[in-house]
Symmetry: C2
Subunit: 644 residues, 2 copies
Amino acid sequence: MDGFWNRFTALVRETVIPYQWEALNDRIPDAEPSYAIRNFRIAAGREEGKYGGMVFQDSDVAKWLEAVGYSLANHPDPILERIADELIELISEAQHTNGYLNTYYTIKEPGNQWTNLYEAHELYCAGHMIEAAVAYFTATGKRKVLDVACKLADYISTVFGGEPGKLRGYDGHQEIELALVKLFKTTGEQRYLKLAQFFINERGTTPNYLIEECKQRDGYSIWADKKIKLPTVEQLSYNQAHKPVREQEVAVGHSVRAVYMYTAMADLAHLTNDQGLLEASRRLWENMTKKQMYITGGIGSTHHGEAFSFDYDLPNDTVYAETCASIGLIFFARRMLELEVKSEYADVLERALYNNVIGSMSQDGKHYFYVNPLEVWPEASEKNPGRRHVKAVRQKWFGCSCCPPNVARLLSSLNEYIYTASTKDNAIYTHLFIGSEAQFKLAAGQVAMKQESRLPWEGYVKLELAAVTGAPFTLAVRIPSWCYGKAVMKINGAESSYEVTNGYATVNRLWNKGDIVEWEPALEAQWIAAHPQIRANAGKAAIERGPFIYCLEETDNGGSLSSISVIREANLQSHFDNELLGGAILVEAKGRLDDQTSWQADTPYRPLTQSRSAEPVIIKAVPYYLWGNRTPGEMSVWIRTCHE
Amino acid sequence: MDGFWNRFTALVRETVIPYQWEALNDRIPDAEPSYAIRNFRIAAGREEGKYGGMVFQDSDVAKWLEAVGYSLANHPDPILERIADELIELISEAQHTNGYLNTYYTIKEPGNQWTNLYEAHELYCAGHMIEAAVAYFTATGKRKVLDVACKLADYISTVFGGEPGKLRGYDGHQEIELALVKLFKTTGEQRYLKLAQFFINERGTTPNYLIEECKQRDGYSIWADKKIKLPTVEQLSYNQAHKPVREQEVAVGHSVRAVYMYTAMADLAHLTNDQGLLEASRRLWENMTKKQMYITGGIGSTHHGEAFSFDYDLPNDTVYAETCASIGLIFFARRMLELEVKSEYADVLERALYNNVIGSMSQDGKHYFYVNPLEVWPEASEKNPGRRHVKAVRQKWFGCSCCPPNVARLLSSLNEYIYTASTKDNAIYTHLFIGSEAQFKLAAGQVAMKQESRLPWEGYVKLELAAVTGAPFTLAVRIPSWCYGKAVMKINGAESSYEVTNGYATVNRLWNKGDIVEWEPALEAQWIAAHPQIRANAGKAAIERGPFIYCLEETDNGGSLSSISVIREANLQSHFDNELLGGAILVEAKGRLDDQTSWQADTPYRPLTQSRSAEPVIIKAVPYYLWGNRTPGEMSVWIRTCHE
């Protein structure tokens, strides 16, 4: 359906999903074993053995199943469906008769359920199982896994809640909240929405549940496997449980936890018309995307706690920018678009998707980055312990392998991110420019639309109305941030004016079947500067071309990328290179290479005047998402600038 | 005696030594307690109690006593001497009858002596006690503490050695090796030299003693207080025990351990004419000072293991550059000068002394940096865990307080670093330009020389021969690296030519009493560039003026120092500012401040073309050693450059 994305969806379907199934079954040679399926087999009583992997290993299985659900919805595959059905059978065998489902506690700590919400990810794993169930049920209509999920959620609601005798707790890792919203939407059962509200409302209240719970188990920590000091309220900012969610001002703590929570907050703000949650969602969005986000859509600038640090602290080299965090950011952006259609949400969504997220996966679909740096010096990744988390090449699989299945489930559900149909506005919004066919239900009736897109390489989109209602409605097309307001609309071949509303070009009229809207946002390579408070990028610029951020790689530009500067006044030249990893547009620019030859190895420092002038070079930049797919070497997104 | 250094030596004598005595006695309010003296009181049986502080806490007492020794040598002080004598009495009471001396093992693990050389610093503490004894004996002629040291060393030589029944071990933290050399020089007893040789020769041989020892104690670790995995040979590079010292190619591991070891290696190369050690010393010097040293003379670029990382990896913000490491570098440089007089050794010595070392202490002598950064963003030091080790203000005292007493002992023994008298060369070498009076013994007889110096602010030195021999000899004066070969010599008022030998200006003649040599090395502010492989400094320059490196502080230049660039072609203006912390020369230069005003807080990224031109500013730089003594704020040594 889409020239660019077909490759990815096919890759996910044909390679990623089968490969990850092998990984979950510990059948990838030389990769860290997952143990995830084996844990279910042991919990189901089919096999003897010890629990293996992380405490939250179940969630990898769930995310995989969720991805399978999305994939089957677009692309039926009986063999894959049979594997999934067998997995669902296994999962259901691992579920307790009361509905409880978690292989870690079943195998390793029976009897200790719900005693360590702070660390043990029990509700987190339940949330992923619920998401998987919703996706699989929606795709196949088969209720079995949905029944497992409902039984699990129903059991959870007997344990947690505000009523006397229930636990007033919530998970150390948010996830179940957004999953329960999905379960509510799928089943129509209000009790799931209420349980999600309960978890969100309870979080961070005083006395702090997670601290009290630590006291109850006498400070025992799963991770340390011994008694540890009780966390302080301040330390619970890691879990965004340091204060009630409505009072949180800035994005703090573990970034994946944060965005999963914000997603649920926006969901609940929308579905329950909760003004406090709406304001908090907007505030946290604002802080996170305007002061704590990398230009690639990465979030979380420190590997200590995989966390946010503070406003404008966005180091390129010691960065974290976890893949899962950008995926969560996309979830959050999607929910904000549900709340209020503003193009900035879709701009960020697109930025994270086209850069941080797809850049995390290798072109072969079998290698992944967990950390997505904006600057790599391979020797430093190897020899400087403070940069060891930054890998210079993608890895096969991780002991903590949250990211790869997260990529799979996102890429196989991309069609959920392209449009919004609003009966309230009587409008169809196009957020993303991805070739697709879609049906919408407006108040006046059904609309069918077909999108053809030359994105991401060219600024041309064609929307064709395959079916229309008899009444007028609004077509709204996002004016992407990267066209800087320069965008032409044609209706049936004639240039047309449009209203600009919240960053969307809108036309309200009576549409006819066969009407064609052409949308041409200016798509040109640009030098981008960073806010001066982002100290890491002072004096530097990055290349943006449409949704893509570009980078320099050693393989194209030689080593020591830091010796390169680019001339601010010079034009950027774009051209398509068929040879480059399946074809991509390169950007070239005039630059200078600092004098290297006059330096002796034994002179670390010398007067500036002794250097020869920098020599002219042409720098060659490739889209960030393609980096690291050729000869390993240095990479840099931000490049020093100089004047002509 | 010297306008610049008098302040420091007086500060050490009047403030640092008394203050540190209070600290060692746990009498500084709000500072972390030391427990060091209390440990001796308990070990001596004067008091009941538990051991407190680090396993190597004894060494803080020893370093303090060593500083007292040097101070008394230059500046008799009966009250201080009485305190020291009482301390020596206490130390001797803590010594076992067999000579053993270590309060940790005496109090906390009696019976486990010598079972954990890898971690427990037993020989390290012994080494510091020996150094203290030598200094105190040399200053006062009192043998008591020297007897303690000899008894301790003699006992150690019954435990360690190549003979059957002795341990073939060596300390996890080198120090005793250089101390034993001092003890040999003071007592003339060859056995101490031999023991130093033994420790150096054994280190890193196969089978690895430290690993075998870990096996013996079943993997028990003092630091973890439990059994841990055995270290690998590779991990022992932290202790420079991964291979025999003569085979070591590059500076690796914990930087203080490294330079203490290199110091002993150079000592032994000199005293035993050991060619293998000479070559290794030169090789390690070369690698460390030419590829792994900051422009401030700091070494060790990562706080993980307080260690070297690899060639050209010299980040300014996540830097370590521990004070003690630069002090050790000074020791090593001094020993290399004994081996062979080459000005590069004295250049590095001077660089470390005038920048990293004196910059570590506050102007009031009561606050210290352990880590000496080249770039500080106070908010990052507080909120980014990867930069938390970089303090934006000096601290009162540390739980691990190795650095403050190390500064004290170095600054109170500065006179040992100024000259070398070589009977072999029949020459007197002046390495440092510090006002002083000195006596030298050449083959032909005694020489007395008086140095007056206008350094570090002005390039003018006067050497007056107060007494001469009847025979010709060579006066050699270092041509400092920072004058770039521009230096004028006058003899008795008339400009004189000189030979250049190994970076020294040398004149051989028959000198007369009262002869005056004036030495005028060009001392001008310069922009300095870093080797292009030092990626952290690409496109940047630092200011050097004589021995000083300069830096920008927020208090003089406003916040966001990263927004400042300087114009490469513009001249640097120097002027003395009486108001600046007791008087210092400031350097000013034309620069530009990036557009800040056109940026909105909600715009993290935007096209480069939207920025207004940078506005002209005058930047104001202060000597690095003075930073952090006024309003806390940002600091930066390296500054972006631009063209006019």
